[in-house]
């Protein structure tokens, strides 16, 4: 009857032979799925290191025997401007969203002021409207005020409407113990000092999750740069890369090296902050 007692926590209990077989089968299944999920990405990295003309050799190989690091040198000479633009925008967006959402989250979570609840409901209501509703009118307004073909539309609206982030920060500020604040108030700290010195440092997990998601949104944004940027030197990395496809159509190795460079920062951020990432998703269910 030992097969019955396994199930949940696995490993701790005695396991029957049929259960052991099932576990092996499931493990193999997990590996197969894992390969299916990762192999296109590995293929991208592999192709970026191959010699031009040897990418689609048959039988297909994943990694070349003699990696051509020069491909990266060639691509890096083409993209520094776009890479810089993407990094700059990501930085402004992350810092801006953190500042705006932390201030508002603090006010909604810890301060009393007239209209607080009504304003909070309005804030939540705006989250229900899909982004596409704003697409056309925002473009027209930005066109009128001369923002088209500048980078302003790629960060100003994002920084000043961090609705989900404000919600998340508010939840976090509410959960902090009142004693923390009281002690500081008794010592004569003003409201901003309470916010900046006492409470904000306690919200690091929420700040981390927001930073990661804002970074991702900004870095992977496609529609924004596509609509607003015409000048080549203002373009972001992903869109510049999409435009490469027309110019360097036949040079797969260069395209793949460029794609790898566009993906690498995101993968690194993810690996560095996996836990915050998952916490962020489960806390808020943020979606794009």
């Amino acid at each position: 009857m030992s097969t019955r007692t396994i199930a949940t926590v696995g490993g701790l209990r005695r396991v029957g032979p049929s259960q052991r077989l099932l576990n092996v089968v499931l493990y193999v299944f997990m590996i197969v799925l894992g390969v299916l999920f990762v192999i296109p990405l590995l293929w991208m990295i592999g192709a970026s290191l191959k010699e031009e003309g040897h990418v689609l050799s048959s039988p297909p190989t994943l990694f070349p025997l003699h990696p051509q690091w020069a491909n990266y040198g060639q691509v890096l000479s083409l993209i520094p401007r776009f890479f810089y633009n993407s990094v700059k925008l990501a930085f402004i967006n992350v810092v801006g969203v953190l500042a705006v959402s932390a201030l508002a989250g603090f006010a909604f979570g810890r301060l009393r002021f007239p209209g607080r609840n009504v304003l909070f409901v309005i804030l939540l209501a705006t989250a229900m409207i899909p982004g596409v509703a704003y697409l056309i009118p925002q473009y027209i307004i930005f066109e009128r005020i001369g923002w088209v073909d500048t980078q302003l539309p790629l960060w100003v609206p994002r920084v000043f409407t961090p609705v989900f982030a404000t919600f998340l920060m508010r939840q976090y500020f509410v959960s902090l113990p009142q004693e923390l604040e009281d002690a500081a108030r008794v010592d004569g700290a003003g409201t901003f000092a309470v916010f900046w010195r006492i409470l904000l440092p306690e919200t690091k997990p929420a700040l981390g999750a927001i930073a990661i998601f804002t970074f991702l949104d900004s870095w992977n944004d496609l529609l924004g740069p596509l609509i607003y940027i015409n000048s080549r030197e203002l373009q972001t990395l992903p869109v510049a890369l999409a435009q490469f496809q027309n110019e360097y159509f036949s040079e797969i190795t260069l395209l793949m090296a460029g794609a790898t460079i566009a993906v690498l920062p995101v993968i690194l951020v993810y690996l560095g902050a996996q836990r915050q990432f998952v916490r962020g998703i489960t806390l808020t269910g943020i979606n794009r």
Partner: protein, 315 residues
Amino acid sequence: MTAVRDPVRLPRIASTGSSPGRLRRIRLWRKYEGLLYIFPVFGGILAFQAIPIVVSMYLSLADWNGIQPPRFVGLGNFRQMFTDDPLYWQTLRNTVLFTLGAIPATTVLAFLLALLCNRNVPGIAIFRAAYFAPYITNIVAIGYIWYWIYKPDQGVLNGMLSVFGIHGPDWLSDPNLALISVIIVSVWQGAGYPMVIFLAGLQGIPTDLYEAASIDGASQSRKLFSITIPLMTPSIFFVLITQFITSFQVFGVIYIMTQGGPGHSTSVYIYYLYQVAFSFGQFGYAAAMAWVLFVILGLITLIQWRLQRGWVFYG
């Protein structure tokens, strides 16, 4: 500075030698100070959401090419959309097909992945990271990769099929296949996000339920259908709601992989809206399209909320 240390004495000390109105000013400041902190976000909502929404309402009732002054046409844009634009209906149909293909596949795959990942096996963190990796990968890179996977003659996929003697199809240029090919990419990319939601849900199920079921002699599949799935219905509901909203607004994968083609076989709602506005310069018509999509999404969400009573189990 004892005056600052004791908030009760603050007004009295502060008022000595200064105007008696100071106390009132401090009270006033305390009362309204919070508004200062929320000013940036509400300024942003006003400027970048509220005003655009009003502009968009007007635009949807106007004919405007972005250059000449807008001309008021009443419900003309909506009339054109519903009665005089076969392409509109085709893109709507494609969007529905995309959604109906992508959502069940993504949800089932994500649930399966979450079940697999919710076990204590060696290297579990690596598996989770692997399943999640496509979700954070840039769509342009994904487009490149899959373009070469799908390439008919020398592509990776058909190359592998040819090993088994199968002559693979033209994945992205066959109008009957292109949408399915795009759905496959979309499912592959999108499963990681709901997987994490499901994983969190699974980890919230109390283990003693399973232990009790084991003592009663329940089989694995019985536990899955009688404990796991019922307790996971809130997570499934949440995933379905968000999937519908994002799936109806799919753009990136279409723009990068097919540009709506071949023919218009993969042209979806937002892609067509993007073309109407930024290629054809019909901003009024595009704004009207956005409003119809907004209503469609609202209705779908409302229906899902109504239906949840029938199947979502809040323990």
